[in-house]
Protein backbone atom coordinates (compact mmCIF):
# COMPACT_ATOMS: atom_id res chain seq x y z
CA UNK A 1 0.00 0.00 0.00
CA UNK A 2 2.63 2.50 1.07
CA UNK A 3 5.04 1.17 -1.57
CA UNK A 4 2.39 1.74 -4.24
CA UNK A 5 1.95 5.31 -3.01
CA UNK A 6 5.68 6.01 -3.13
CA UNK A 7 5.86 4.46 -6.60
CA UNK A 8 3.00 6.73 -7.72
CA UNK A 9 4.70 9.84 -6.30
CA UNK A 10 8.13 8.95 -7.68
CA UNK A 11 6.96 7.68 -11.04
CA UNK A 12 8.97 10.20 -13.08
CA UNK A 13 12.34 9.56 -11.37
CA UNK A 14 11.65 5.82 -11.42
CA UNK A 15 11.04 5.91 -15.19
CA UNK A 16 14.20 7.95 -15.74
CA UNK A 17 16.28 5.54 -13.67
CA UNK A 18 14.80 2.55 -15.52
CA UNK A 19 15.50 4.03 -18.97
CA UNK A 20 19.01 5.17 -18.08
CA UNK A 21 19.73 1.87 -16.33
CA UNK A 22 18.68 -0.16 -19.37
CA UNK A 23 20.72 2.13 -21.59
CA UNK A 24 23.77 1.69 -19.43
CA UNK A 25 23.21 -2.07 -19.29
CA UNK A 26 23.18 -2.31 -23.10
CA UNK A 27 26.37 -0.28 -23.12
CA UNK A 28 28.12 -2.37 -20.48
CA UNK A 29 27.11 -5.67 -22.09
CA UNK A 30 28.49 -4.36 -25.39
CA UNK A 31 25.35 -5.31 -27.36
CA UNK A 32 25.98 -2.42 -29.79
CA UNK A 33 29.54 -1.27 -30.69
CA UNK A 34 30.47 1.46 -28.19
CA UNK A 35 31.37 3.76 -31.07
CA UNK A 36 27.67 3.99 -32.04
CA UNK A 37 26.23 3.61 -28.57
CA UNK A 38 28.03 5.78 -26.01
CA UNK A 39 27.48 5.56 -22.28
CA UNK A 40 25.07 7.85 -20.47
CA UNK A 41 28.03 9.68 -18.95
CA UNK A 42 29.69 10.28 -22.32
CA UNK A 43 26.40 11.70 -23.63
CA UNK A 44 26.03 13.91 -20.57
CA UNK A 45 29.56 15.25 -20.92
CA UNK A 46 29.15 15.90 -24.66
CA UNK A 47 25.83 17.61 -24.05
CA UNK A 48 27.27 19.79 -21.31
CA UNK A 49 30.12 20.87 -23.59
CA UNK A 50 27.65 21.84 -26.32
CA UNK A 51 25.61 23.81 -23.80
CA UNK A 52 28.61 25.75 -22.54
CA UNK A 53 29.83 26.74 -26.00
CA UNK A 54 26.38 28.25 -26.61
CA UNK A 55 25.67 26.98 -30.13
CA UNK A 56 23.09 24.49 -28.98
CA UNK A 57 21.03 27.09 -27.12
CA UNK A 58 20.44 29.24 -30.19
CA UNK A 59 19.81 26.15 -32.33
CA UNK A 60 17.30 24.94 -29.77
CA UNK A 61 15.53 28.33 -29.66
CA UNK A 62 15.37 28.46 -33.47
CA UNK A 63 13.90 24.97 -33.71
CA UNK A 64 11.43 25.35 -30.89
CA UNK A 65 10.17 28.69 -32.18
CA UNK A 66 9.67 27.24 -35.67
CA UNK A 67 7.67 24.32 -34.29
CA UNK A 68 5.60 26.64 -32.09
CA UNK A 69 4.81 29.13 -34.86
CA UNK A 70 4.05 26.28 -37.26
CA UNK A 71 1.72 24.69 -34.72
CA UNK A 72 -0.16 27.92 -34.00
CA UNK A 73 -0.53 28.57 -37.74
CA UNK A 74 -1.67 25.02 -38.39
CA UNK A 75 -4.20 25.10 -35.53
CA UNK A 76 -5.72 28.39 -36.72
CA UNK A 77 -5.80 27.28 -40.36
CA UNK A 78 -7.21 23.88 -39.37
CA UNK A 79 -10.03 25.48 -37.38
CA UNK A 80 -10.72 27.91 -40.25
CA UNK A 81 -10.92 25.03 -42.76
CA UNK A 82 -13.23 23.13 -40.41
CA UNK A 83 -15.52 26.17 -40.09
CA UNK A 84 -15.61 26.65 -43.87
CA UNK A 85 -16.41 22.94 -44.25
CA UNK A 86 -19.21 23.27 -41.74
CA UNK A 87 -20.74 26.25 -43.54
CA UNK A 88 -20.61 24.86 -47.06
CA UNK A 89 -21.00 21.20 -48.11
CA UNK A 90 -19.39 21.98 -51.48
CA UNK A 91 -16.31 23.49 -49.85
CA UNK A 92 -16.27 20.61 -47.36
CA UNK A 93 -15.95 18.09 -50.18
CA UNK A 94 -13.28 20.16 -51.93
CA UNK A 95 -11.17 20.56 -48.82
CA UNK A 96 -11.51 16.88 -48.03
CA UNK A 97 -10.21 15.88 -51.48
CA UNK A 98 -7.24 18.21 -51.08
CA UNK A 99 -6.52 16.83 -47.61
CA UNK A 100 -6.79 13.23 -48.85
CA UNK A 101 -4.12 13.99 -51.44
CA UNK A 102 -1.77 16.05 -49.25
CA UNK A 103 -2.03 14.14 -45.97
CA UNK A 104 0.05 11.08 -46.89
CA UNK A 105 2.93 13.19 -48.27
CA UNK A 106 5.75 13.26 -45.68
CA UNK A 107 7.37 16.61 -44.79
CA UNK A 108 10.65 15.52 -46.38
CA UNK A 109 8.97 15.33 -49.79
CA UNK A 110 7.84 18.96 -49.60
CA UNK A 111 11.21 20.43 -48.67
CA UNK A 112 13.14 20.37 -52.00
CA UNK A 113 10.38 22.16 -53.96
CA UNK A 114 9.73 24.52 -51.08
CA UNK A 115 13.41 25.50 -50.99
CA UNK A 116 13.27 26.43 -54.69
CA UNK A 117 10.04 28.38 -54.27
CA UNK A 118 10.53 30.00 -50.88
CA UNK A 119 14.28 30.00 -50.22
CA UNK A 120 15.79 28.99 -46.88
CA UNK A 121 14.04 31.60 -44.72
CA UNK A 122 11.13 31.37 -42.29
CA UNK A 123 8.63 31.04 -45.17
CA UNK A 124 10.04 27.60 -45.95
CA UNK A 125 9.49 26.35 -42.43
CA UNK A 126 6.05 27.89 -42.08
CA UNK A 127 4.98 26.33 -45.38
CA UNK A 128 6.26 22.81 -44.72
CA UNK A 129 5.26 22.62 -41.07
CA UNK A 130 1.76 23.99 -41.58
CA UNK A 131 1.16 21.81 -44.62
CA UNK A 132 1.80 18.60 -42.69
CA UNK A 133 0.49 19.74 -39.29
CA UNK A 134 -2.85 21.26 -40.28
CA UNK A 135 -4.75 17.99 -40.77
CA UNK A 136 -5.44 16.75 -37.23
CA UNK A 137 -6.98 20.07 -36.04
CA UNK A 138 -8.92 20.29 -39.31
CA UNK A 139 -10.25 16.72 -39.19
CA UNK A 140 -11.13 16.89 -35.50
CA UNK A 141 -12.70 20.30 -36.03
CA UNK A 142 -14.93 18.96 -38.80
CA UNK A 143 -16.05 16.02 -36.71
CA UNK A 144 -16.48 18.16 -33.59
CA UNK A 145 -18.64 20.73 -35.37
CA UNK A 146 -20.69 18.03 -37.09
CA UNK A 147 -21.43 16.18 -33.87
CA UNK A 148 -23.12 19.09 -32.08
CA UNK A 149 -26.59 17.72 -31.29
CA UNK A 150 -29.94 18.94 -32.59
CA UNK A 151 -31.16 19.76 -29.08
CA UNK A 152 -28.22 22.11 -28.46
CA UNK A 153 -28.76 23.81 -31.81
CA UNK A 154 -32.50 24.14 -31.20
CA UNK A 155 -31.74 25.63 -27.80
CA UNK A 156 -29.50 28.22 -29.42
CA UNK A 157 -32.12 29.06 -32.05
CA UNK A 158 -34.83 29.31 -29.44
CA UNK A 159 -32.88 32.07 -27.70
CA UNK A 160 -32.48 33.95 -30.96
CA UNK A 161 -29.08 32.87 -32.26
CA UNK A 162 -28.53 33.24 -36.00
CA UNK A 163 -26.35 30.77 -37.91
CA UNK A 164 -23.24 32.82 -37.09
CA UNK A 165 -24.25 33.08 -33.46
CA UNK A 166 -24.81 29.33 -33.32
CA UNK A 167 -21.36 28.78 -34.75
CA UNK A 168 -19.56 31.07 -32.28
CA UNK A 169 -21.61 30.48 -29.18
CA UNK A 170 -22.69 26.86 -29.45
CA UNK A 171 -20.88 24.86 -32.09
CA UNK A 172 -17.30 26.07 -31.60
CA UNK A 173 -17.31 25.81 -27.79
CA UNK A 174 -18.83 22.34 -28.10
CA UNK A 175 -16.22 21.28 -30.67
CA UNK A 176 -13.20 22.69 -28.79
CA UNK A 177 -12.35 19.56 -26.76
CA UNK A 178 -12.10 17.55 -29.95
CA UNK A 179 -10.13 20.31 -31.69
CA UNK A 180 -7.63 20.28 -28.84
CA UNK A 181 -7.20 16.52 -29.13
CA UNK A 182 -6.18 17.26 -32.72
CA UNK A 183 -3.84 20.08 -31.69
CA UNK A 184 -2.05 17.82 -29.20
CA UNK A 185 -1.41 15.34 -31.96
CA UNK A 186 -0.38 18.16 -34.30
CA UNK A 187 2.24 19.34 -31.77
CA UNK A 188 4.15 16.09 -32.23
CA UNK A 189 3.90 16.30 -36.02
CA UNK A 190 5.16 19.88 -36.07
CA UNK A 191 8.27 18.87 -34.11
CA UNK A 192 8.97 16.04 -36.52
CA UNK A 193 8.38 18.32 -39.51
CA UNK A 194 10.74 21.01 -38.24
CA UNK A 195 13.61 18.56 -37.56
CA UNK A 196 13.22 16.89 -40.97
CA UNK A 197 13.06 20.26 -42.74
CA UNK A 198 16.16 21.52 -40.95
CA UNK A 199 18.06 18.36 -41.87
CA UNK A 200 17.21 18.78 -45.54
CA UNK A 201 17.38 22.57 -45.79
CA UNK A 202 20.75 22.36 -44.05
CA UNK A 203 21.41 25.73 -42.56
CA UNK A 204 20.53 25.93 -38.87
CA UNK A 205 18.49 24.46 -36.02
CA UNK A 206 18.72 21.22 -34.06
CA UNK A 207 17.86 19.14 -37.12
CA UNK A 208 20.80 20.51 -39.04
CA UNK A 209 23.07 20.04 -36.01
CA UNK A 210 22.07 16.38 -35.67
CA UNK A 211 22.77 15.88 -39.37
CA UNK A 212 26.18 17.52 -39.15
CA UNK A 213 27.27 15.67 -36.00
CA UNK A 214 26.03 12.37 -37.39
CA UNK A 215 28.18 12.79 -40.49
CA UNK A 216 31.14 13.53 -38.24
CA UNK A 217 30.28 10.35 -36.26
CA UNK A 218 30.00 12.37 -33.03
CA UNK A 219 27.50 9.88 -31.63
CA UNK A 220 27.51 11.15 -28.06
CA UNK A 221 26.53 14.61 -29.28
CA UNK A 222 23.88 13.20 -31.64
CA UNK A 223 22.26 11.35 -28.77
CA UNK A 224 22.44 14.45 -26.60
CA UNK A 225 20.62 16.42 -29.29
CA UNK A 226 18.02 13.69 -29.66
CA UNK A 227 17.20 13.97 -25.98
CA UNK A 228 16.84 17.70 -26.52
CA UNK A 229 14.33 17.03 -29.31
CA UNK A 230 12.41 14.80 -26.93
CA UNK A 231 12.48 17.56 -24.34
CA UNK A 232 11.00 19.91 -26.96
CA UNK A 233 8.09 17.52 -27.24
CA UNK A 234 7.50 17.64 -23.50
CA UNK A 235 7.69 21.44 -23.52
CA UNK A 236 5.37 21.94 -26.49
CA UNK A 237 2.84 19.45 -25.12
CA UNK A 238 2.99 21.27 -21.80
CA UNK A 239 2.16 24.57 -23.50
CA UNK A 240 -0.71 22.99 -25.46
CA UNK A 241 -2.07 21.43 -22.27
CA UNK A 242 -1.91 24.75 -20.46
CA UNK A 243 -3.99 26.37 -23.20
CA UNK A 244 -6.33 23.39 -23.32
CA UNK A 245 -6.97 23.67 -19.58
CA UNK A 246 -7.77 27.34 -20.06
CA UNK A 247 -10.13 26.89 -23.00
CA UNK A 248 -11.76 23.51 -22.30
CA UNK A 249 -11.11 23.07 -18.58
CA UNK A 250 -14.83 22.38 -18.14
CA UNK A 251 -14.52 19.34 -20.38
CA UNK A 252 -11.47 17.97 -18.59
CA UNK A 253 -13.22 18.29 -15.23
CA UNK A 254 -16.40 16.77 -16.67
CA UNK A 255 -14.48 13.75 -17.99
CA UNK A 256 -12.63 13.27 -14.70
CA UNK A 257 -15.99 13.32 -12.93
CA UNK A 258 -17.54 10.72 -15.21
CA UNK A 259 -14.72 8.24 -14.71
Amino acid sequence: MTIARYAEKLRVPICIVLVMGSWQLIYVLGMVPAKYFPSIFAIAVAFWQMLTDGAVISAWATTFLRALIGLVGAALLGIALAIISDLSPVMARGIRYVSDVLQPIPPAAFVPMAVFMLGLGPKLYAFVIILVTVWPPYLNGVSGLASVGAVQLNTGRMFGLTNWGLLWRVKLPAAMPEVFAGIRYAATISLIAVIVSEMLAGRDGIGFMIFKKAFALRTAEVFGLMFLVGFNGVLLNGLVNLLRRGVTGWHIRMMERHE
Binding site: Q152, M158, F159, V170
Partner: protein, 262 residues
Amino acid sequence: MTGILTASSVGKSYGTGTARMAIIDGLELSIAKGEFVSLVGPSGCGKTTLLMCLSGLLTPSVGEVRFKGQTVSAPPIGLSVVFQDYSRSLLPWKTNLDNVLFGMRRLSMAAADKKARAAEIIAAVGLSGFENHHPWQVSGGMQQRVAIARGIASQSELLLLDEPLAAVDAQTRADMQDLLLDLAKRFNQTCVLVTHDVEEAVYMADRVLVLGPRPTRVVREIVVDLPKPRDQIATREAPAFLHARHEVMALIRGMRAGQNLS
Protein backbone atom coordinates in the same frame (compact mmCIF):
# COMPACT_ATOMS: atom_id res chain seq x y z
CA MET B 1 -61.75 34.43 -28.36
CA THR B 2 -58.19 34.60 -29.58
CA GLY B 3 -55.65 32.82 -27.45
CA ILE B 4 -52.03 33.64 -26.70
CA LEU B 5 -51.14 30.81 -29.05
CA THR B 6 -53.28 29.62 -31.95
CA ALA B 7 -52.74 27.11 -34.71
CA SER B 8 -55.03 27.14 -37.71
CA SER B 9 -55.12 24.40 -40.37
CA VAL B 10 -51.54 23.48 -39.51
CA GLY B 11 -50.02 20.67 -41.54
CA LYS B 12 -46.47 19.35 -41.67
CA SER B 13 -45.17 16.78 -44.08
CA TYR B 14 -41.80 15.60 -45.31
CA GLY B 15 -40.88 14.46 -48.79
CA THR B 16 -42.94 14.65 -51.98
CA GLY B 17 -44.95 12.32 -54.20
CA THR B 18 -45.18 8.71 -53.03
CA ALA B 19 -42.42 9.34 -50.46
CA ARG B 20 -44.48 12.09 -48.86
CA MET B 21 -45.04 11.50 -45.17
CA ALA B 22 -47.64 13.59 -43.42
CA ILE B 23 -47.00 14.13 -39.71
CA ILE B 24 -49.62 16.75 -38.92
CA ASP B 25 -52.74 17.47 -40.92
CA GLY B 26 -55.42 20.09 -40.36
CA LEU B 27 -54.55 20.79 -36.75
CA GLU B 28 -56.45 23.49 -34.91
CA LEU B 29 -55.84 24.67 -31.40
CA SER B 30 -56.09 27.75 -29.28
CA ILE B 31 -54.41 28.24 -25.92
CA ALA B 32 -55.76 31.00 -23.68
CA LYS B 33 -53.45 33.13 -21.57
CA GLY B 34 -52.75 31.60 -18.18
CA GLU B 35 -53.98 28.16 -19.14
CA PHE B 36 -52.16 24.88 -18.51
CA VAL B 37 -52.89 22.59 -21.43
CA SER B 38 -51.64 19.03 -21.87
CA LEU B 39 -51.22 17.39 -25.26
CA VAL B 40 -51.38 13.60 -25.24
CA GLY B 41 -51.61 11.09 -28.03
CA PRO B 42 -50.56 7.62 -29.10
CA SER B 43 -46.83 6.94 -29.43
CA GLY B 44 -45.30 8.27 -32.61
CA CYS B 45 -48.24 10.52 -33.46
CA GLY B 46 -46.01 13.53 -34.06
CA LYS B 47 -46.25 15.38 -30.74
CA THR B 48 -42.69 16.60 -30.82
CA THR B 49 -42.98 17.77 -34.44
CA LEU B 50 -46.11 19.66 -33.40
CA LEU B 51 -44.29 21.34 -30.53
CA MET B 52 -41.43 22.32 -32.86
CA CYS B 53 -43.99 23.89 -35.23
CA LEU B 54 -45.69 25.74 -32.37
CA SER B 55 -42.34 27.13 -31.17
CA GLY B 56 -41.15 28.35 -34.56
CA LEU B 57 -38.21 25.93 -34.60
CA LEU B 58 -39.95 24.20 -37.51
CA THR B 59 -42.09 25.91 -40.14
CA PRO B 60 -45.43 24.22 -40.88
CA SER B 61 -45.92 23.06 -44.48
CA VAL B 62 -49.38 24.60 -44.50
CA GLY B 63 -51.40 26.71 -42.10
CA GLU B 64 -50.30 29.22 -39.56
CA VAL B 65 -49.21 29.45 -35.94
CA ARG B 66 -49.77 32.74 -34.18
CA PHE B 67 -48.24 33.86 -30.89
CA LYS B 68 -49.87 36.96 -29.37
CA GLY B 69 -51.44 37.65 -32.75
CA GLN B 70 -48.16 37.54 -34.67
CA THR B 71 -47.39 34.81 -37.17
CA VAL B 72 -44.58 32.62 -35.83
CA SER B 73 -41.76 32.16 -38.33
CA ALA B 74 -38.86 31.91 -35.89
CA PRO B 75 -38.81 31.42 -32.10
CA PRO B 76 -40.30 34.67 -30.75
CA ILE B 77 -39.36 36.40 -27.51
CA GLY B 78 -41.85 35.38 -24.85
CA LEU B 79 -42.01 31.76 -25.86
CA SER B 80 -39.59 29.09 -24.73
CA VAL B 81 -39.27 25.37 -25.04
CA VAL B 82 -38.14 23.08 -22.23
CA PHE B 83 -36.71 19.99 -23.90
CA GLN B 84 -36.89 16.46 -22.58
CA ASP B 85 -33.15 16.00 -23.01
CA TYR B 86 -31.97 18.58 -20.46
CA SER B 87 -28.40 17.26 -20.43
CA ARG B 88 -28.06 18.14 -24.12
CA SER B 89 -30.07 21.32 -23.92
CA LEU B 90 -27.94 22.93 -21.21
CA LEU B 91 -24.54 24.14 -22.41
CA PRO B 92 -21.95 22.13 -20.43
CA TRP B 93 -19.21 24.78 -20.67
CA LYS B 94 -21.41 27.32 -18.92
CA THR B 95 -22.26 27.35 -15.22
CA ASN B 96 -25.91 27.04 -14.18
CA LEU B 97 -26.08 30.81 -13.73
CA ASP B 98 -24.54 31.43 -17.16
CA ASN B 99 -26.97 28.96 -18.69
CA VAL B 100 -29.87 30.95 -17.23
CA LEU B 101 -28.24 34.19 -18.43
CA PHE B 102 -27.93 32.61 -21.89
CA GLY B 103 -31.74 32.46 -21.92
CA MET B 104 -31.81 36.22 -21.31
CA ARG B 105 -29.40 37.12 -24.10
CA ARG B 106 -32.05 38.85 -26.24
CA LEU B 107 -33.42 40.98 -23.41
CA SER B 108 -32.43 44.62 -23.21
CA MET B 109 -31.54 44.89 -19.53
CA ALA B 110 -28.40 45.97 -17.72
CA ALA B 111 -26.05 43.07 -16.99
CA ALA B 112 -26.44 43.55 -13.24
CA ASP B 113 -30.24 43.47 -13.50
CA LYS B 114 -30.07 40.32 -15.57
CA LYS B 115 -27.88 38.69 -12.96
CA ALA B 116 -30.23 39.68 -10.14
CA ARG B 117 -33.26 38.40 -12.05
CA ALA B 118 -31.46 35.14 -12.91
CA ALA B 119 -30.52 34.62 -9.26
CA GLU B 120 -34.13 35.25 -8.23
CA ILE B 121 -35.45 32.63 -10.65
CA ILE B 122 -32.73 30.15 -9.70
CA ALA B 123 -33.86 30.59 -6.10
CA ALA B 124 -37.48 30.04 -7.15
CA VAL B 125 -36.60 26.65 -8.66
CA GLY B 126 -34.76 25.77 -5.46
CA LEU B 127 -31.21 25.88 -6.76
CA SER B 128 -29.71 28.67 -4.66
CA GLY B 129 -26.11 27.78 -3.93
CA PHE B 130 -25.70 25.90 -7.22
CA GLU B 131 -25.30 28.98 -9.44
CA ASN B 132 -21.61 28.39 -10.00
CA HIS B 133 -21.86 24.65 -10.50
CA HIS B 134 -21.84 23.29 -14.00
CA PRO B 135 -24.92 21.32 -15.13
CA TRP B 136 -22.97 18.06 -15.13
CA GLN B 137 -22.15 18.58 -11.45
CA VAL B 138 -25.80 18.39 -10.37
CA SER B 139 -28.49 15.68 -10.59
CA GLY B 140 -30.86 15.17 -13.52
CA GLY B 141 -33.81 16.74 -11.73
CA MET B 142 -31.68 19.77 -10.86
CA GLN B 143 -30.51 20.08 -14.46
CA GLN B 144 -34.09 20.15 -15.67
CA ARG B 145 -34.82 22.85 -13.09
CA VAL B 146 -31.96 24.91 -14.52
CA ALA B 147 -33.51 24.48 -17.97
CA ILE B 148 -36.92 25.55 -16.65
CA ALA B 149 -35.34 28.56 -14.92
CA ARG B 150 -33.63 29.48 -18.18
CA GLY B 151 -36.96 29.27 -20.02
CA ILE B 152 -38.73 31.50 -17.50
CA ALA B 153 -35.82 33.94 -17.36
CA SER B 154 -36.09 34.61 -21.10
CA GLN B 155 -39.10 36.81 -20.25
CA SER B 156 -41.27 33.93 -21.23
CA GLU B 157 -45.05 34.06 -21.17
CA LEU B 158 -45.56 30.69 -22.78
CA LEU B 159 -43.63 27.56 -21.85
CA LEU B 160 -43.74 24.68 -24.30
CA LEU B 161 -42.78 21.64 -22.29
CA ASP B 162 -41.64 18.69 -24.41
CA GLU B 163 -41.91 15.69 -22.09
CA PRO B 164 -39.78 17.57 -19.59
CA LEU B 165 -40.09 14.96 -16.85
CA ALA B 166 -39.78 11.77 -18.90
CA ALA B 167 -36.11 11.34 -18.02
CA VAL B 168 -36.27 11.98 -14.26
CA ASP B 169 -37.05 9.33 -11.65
CA ALA B 170 -40.59 8.81 -10.36
CA GLN B 171 -40.28 10.57 -7.00
CA THR B 172 -38.47 13.54 -8.47
CA ARG B 173 -41.13 13.64 -11.16
CA ALA B 174 -43.96 14.16 -8.65
CA ASP B 175 -42.01 16.99 -6.98
CA MET B 176 -41.25 18.54 -10.34
CA GLN B 177 -44.90 18.42 -11.38
CA ASP B 178 -45.86 20.45 -8.34
CA LEU B 179 -42.90 22.78 -8.85
CA LEU B 180 -43.94 23.41 -12.46
CA LEU B 181 -47.54 24.18 -11.44
CA ASP B 182 -46.25 26.51 -8.73
CA LEU B 183 -43.83 28.27 -11.10
CA ALA B 184 -46.51 28.63 -13.78
CA LYS B 185 -48.70 30.46 -11.29
CA ARG B 186 -45.93 32.52 -9.73
CA PHE B 187 -44.41 33.72 -13.01
CA ASN B 188 -47.70 33.94 -14.95
CA GLN B 189 -46.71 31.30 -17.43
CA THR B 190 -49.11 29.79 -19.91
CA CYS B 191 -48.02 26.19 -20.32
CA VAL B 192 -48.38 23.59 -23.04
CA LEU B 193 -47.19 20.20 -21.84
CA VAL B 194 -46.54 17.36 -24.23
CA THR B 195 -46.40 14.06 -22.39
CA HIS B 196 -46.78 10.30 -22.78
CA ASP B 197 -47.99 9.99 -19.25
CA VAL B 198 -51.80 10.28 -19.19
CA GLU B 199 -51.95 10.69 -15.40
CA GLU B 200 -49.42 13.50 -15.56
CA ALA B 201 -51.37 15.13 -18.39
CA VAL B 202 -54.58 15.14 -16.36
CA TYR B 203 -52.92 16.03 -13.03
CA MET B 204 -51.23 19.13 -14.41
CA ALA B 205 -53.77 20.50 -16.83
CA ASP B 206 -56.83 22.68 -16.98
CA ARG B 207 -57.52 21.12 -20.33
CA VAL B 208 -56.25 17.98 -22.05
CA LEU B 209 -56.12 17.91 -25.84
CA VAL B 210 -56.01 14.39 -27.22
CA LEU B 211 -54.15 14.00 -30.48
CA GLY B 212 -55.07 11.43 -33.11
CA PRO B 213 -52.69 9.00 -34.83
CA ARG B 214 -50.39 10.29 -37.55
CA PRO B 215 -51.06 12.54 -39.42
CA THR B 216 -52.18 14.03 -36.17
CA ARG B 217 -54.75 16.61 -35.20
CA VAL B 218 -56.69 17.41 -32.05
CA VAL B 219 -59.47 14.83 -31.81
CA ARG B 220 -60.89 15.56 -28.35
CA GLU B 221 -60.80 18.23 -25.74
CA ILE B 222 -61.28 17.24 -22.12
CA VAL B 223 -61.74 19.95 -19.52
CA VAL B 224 -60.27 18.91 -16.19
CA ASP B 225 -62.60 20.24 -13.56
CA LEU B 226 -60.37 19.95 -10.51
CA PRO B 227 -59.53 22.58 -7.92
CA LYS B 228 -56.09 24.18 -7.70
CA PRO B 229 -53.61 23.87 -6.18
CA ARG B 230 -53.47 20.21 -7.12
CA ASP B 231 -52.43 17.64 -4.56
CA GLN B 232 -50.49 14.50 -5.39
CA ILE B 233 -52.77 12.36 -3.19
CA ALA B 234 -56.16 14.05 -3.09
CA THR B 235 -56.30 15.14 -6.73
CA ARG B 236 -55.35 11.72 -7.99
CA GLU B 237 -58.22 10.15 -5.99
CA ALA B 238 -60.86 12.67 -7.03
CA PRO B 239 -63.70 11.29 -9.18
CA ALA B 240 -63.16 14.06 -11.78
CA PHE B 241 -59.50 13.03 -12.10
CA LEU B 242 -60.36 9.37 -12.52
CA HIS B 243 -63.09 10.20 -14.98
CA ALA B 244 -60.81 12.36 -17.15
CA ARG B 245 -58.03 9.79 -16.96
CA HIS B 246 -60.46 7.05 -18.01
CA GLU B 247 -61.68 9.04 -20.98
CA VAL B 248 -58.18 9.90 -22.26
CA MET B 249 -56.86 6.37 -21.79
CA ALA B 250 -59.85 4.78 -23.51
CA LEU B 251 -59.44 7.14 -26.46
CA ILE B 252 -55.75 6.40 -26.87
CA ARG B 253 -56.26 2.66 -26.45
CA GLY B 254 -58.91 2.77 -29.16
CA MET B 255 -56.52 4.56 -31.50
CA ARG B 256 -53.73 2.07 -30.83
CA ALA B 257 -56.05 -0.86 -31.51
CA GLY B 258 -57.03 0.81 -34.79
CA GLN B 259 -53.37 1.32 -35.69
CA ASN B 260 -52.54 -2.30 -34.97
CA LEU B 261 -55.34 -3.51 -37.24
CA SER B 262 -54.33 -1.38 -40.18
